[in-house]
Amino acid sequence: MKQKLVLIGNGMAGVRALEELFKHNTSDEKGSDQYDITVIGAEPHPNYNRIMLSPVLAGEQTINDIILNSLEWYEENNITLVTGDAAAEISRVKKSVITESGKEFPYDRLLIATGSNPFIIPIPGADKEGVLGFRDIYDVDTMVQAARDYKKAVVIGGGLLGLEAANGLMKQGMDVTVVHLLDSLMERQLDKPASALLKASLEQRGMKFLMEASTAEIAGDKRVSSVKFTDGSELEADLVVMAVGIRPNFELAKKAGIHCERGIVVSDTMQTFDPVIYSVGECVQHRNQCYGLVAPLFEQAKVAANHLAHVGSTRYIGSMTSTKLKVTGIDLFSAGEFNEEEGDEVLQIQDVASGMYKKLVLKDNVIKGAVMFGDTMDGTWYFSLMRDAANIADFRKTILFGQHDLGDAGHGDASAVMSLPDAAEICGCNGVSKGDIVQAISKNGLFTLDEVRAHTKASSSCGSCTGLVESILASTVGEGYDATPSKKAVCACTDHGHDDVINAIKDHELKTMPAVREFLEWKTPDGCASCRPALNYYLMARWPEEYQDDAQSRFINERAHGNIQKDGTYSVVPRMFGGLVKPNELRAIADVCDKFDVPEMKVTGGQRIDMFGIKKEDLPAMWKDLSDAGFVSGHAYGKAMRTVKTCAGDTWCRFGTQNSTGLGVKLEELTWGSYMQHKFKLAVSGCPRNCAEATIKDFGVVCVDSGYELHIGGNGGIKVRVTDLLCKVETEEEVLEYCAAFTQKYREEAHYLERTAPWVERVGLTSIKEVILNNEEERKALAERFKISQKIAQVDPWKARAEGEASHEFTQLKIAG
């Protein structure tokens, strides 16, 4: 027998919780395999996208466009749906819900998601015909009808909702005045300058404003005819929309004796004081916060579903939110604390002529808040910097000009996305077009980047198209899309982020994967393909001498010590230190290729030779021959130190200033075999002509007459980033020491799969310089730790496997049949 789950409130948060619940099914069953579900909704509609009521009012979309779950959806998922009949009473003794029409539904678990009500100012006349809030389809229908019959509208409240209502009514042909109590619009999202720009821009479109006006009375016979103010003035009106705020709707819960304050009080598991009763959405008060935007509510829904499904491991810990206004043609973005306090710093630019304004509030070089008007393209970027508490010291000077200015090749112009044809390819890795993404978003009602990734695979591989996908998301679900991310967890197996894991391993001396998973309360017994390689790496990097590497937690390339190819064969790239090579070595490679029928050879971009198309079973024998000729693995397959590229240098080149080739060999001898969070490349150029391309490497050396310039954090590849100059040193010994120290600092601190370029941008060049340049003791300690870990790492994996290690990996079993 299944348990009974009743949901009160057929709205965005509640229904999302059901969808999340279905994801926990362990069988193929449609709907929930644990519960018989009943949904009780006061509105006579299936669940729709409330956010999009604004575009509907503005005539840009229809009600049909915004239905999220059709009646068939409820049927297919075996949900008993009651519409147009509000829940009137919850009997906790009988464990049942009674509706207004007298129907009774028993429950084992109850989920309350009654949303909120528009606040109607309690003034005389507020109950007259033609006075309403802006909350549901009924309100929109009423407004559209009024626009046909009447002319003059007054919107009380100059906040987000009020302005969207006013804009819609204006589009419906009404003469609209917005009445606002304060002297600036959207004061909770905008500072004064941005607010003034917004007002000017709306005025230009024909909207009228009455600022600092306090409403005293709604006058009229049966229907409203005017609005009167406390200063005695009066404004004609046939329609009054009150948009002065929302109040969590918890009457029903309160009547049932459930503890409520400003909303229904819930714990981190979304349970009310009665543990079989859960609550999510705008009706909820969590850690003293009530939310009025969908993104946090969806996070709540996910947590509630997790507990309803008896998986019982996640917690909701609150959200950070950002705001956009859905008035077509007006670009506005706001997040965080955008009004500076003492001790904060402000960066801002304003271009009056083009109506552009940007402001960032900083504290200790970390973004606390942002307001933008006119050009909001970088809103999501600032928001993600803010969420990551990234140190922006190093690009402070240009941050206001946007991410483009950092030489971001990947993102392209976000506003240009809208004008792309449907066939335009957005995600090159997975071949996903703009049309595919738009369709997936509208068909499946997607709201977040993660959901788009799951459904289309777009941006789920290299990630360079993430910015584009986010813009498409924003333009498709309306700008109501919230970039509000959940805290960046390592993967779905945990709520903890990478830093939490790194710190826990260090601070609590956790030395095995099960210990980490237990300590951090992992939700899955043995992790997944994302977290296992990360944990394995973090443990290996922290405890090089004690931790036993776990082959089954490595991606196949690192387990088979070759690059897996699309046909399941492997490639073999032997190391050529500094790109130098001898005739007998070339001969050995040629012999190996003949012996094993290698179908193709190629000189790589990393100054060595690649042999393609090797059968897995042949690898150990081939490695044996290479090993006998003196080669070790080139780790061309690993999240590991790859190559040291060098140029001719002063041995031959007429411009050379130092022995770049020799230094390259020494650097490669120092660093080979080391595993990292991501690939790691080095180069040494003999002079500033830089033939070895040292300034796009993770660690690059440019030789000059007086010594060596050390460069860090460069990246070719997907998103080209030129290195930052770390410092100049005078001797080769110093180069080696600084290289070891920098490498180790990266190895100990970066997140798994975070290459040096994004890492340097996240933590800031200054913080790296502070240690490597200004703290000699720590620099030497880092270099020392690197050397200790290298003692264990510099064992050639090829030789070991040629001698029989992990032979099960390379031998096939055979049976007939």
Partner: protein, 108 residues
Amino acid sequence: MSNWTEVVALEDIPRLGSRVIATDTMNIAVFRTASDEVFAMRDECPHKKGPLSQGIVHGNTVTCPLHNWKIDLASGEALGPDEGCTNVFPTKVENGMVYISLAVAAAA
């Protein structure tokens, strides 16, 4: 009906790992989970035929090494929004030996 063929000792399959069995017609991957359950399926991802045997095993799932599809070991079906299915074969473990039945393969 099922005729069992002995293939390998359980301990010769790494936990959370796999072995590949070559047959006359195809390669079969045999997986061993953390709790020593054993599953077998055709070593071809429903997406683009990636060798599933080379993927990372977690829970009763394997993640394909080529493009990260997640395949349910018991049913051979792709999980989540991805759709597709690969053939699975019955297995049993007796006295530390793994047996597989190819009877179903003939039917498929």
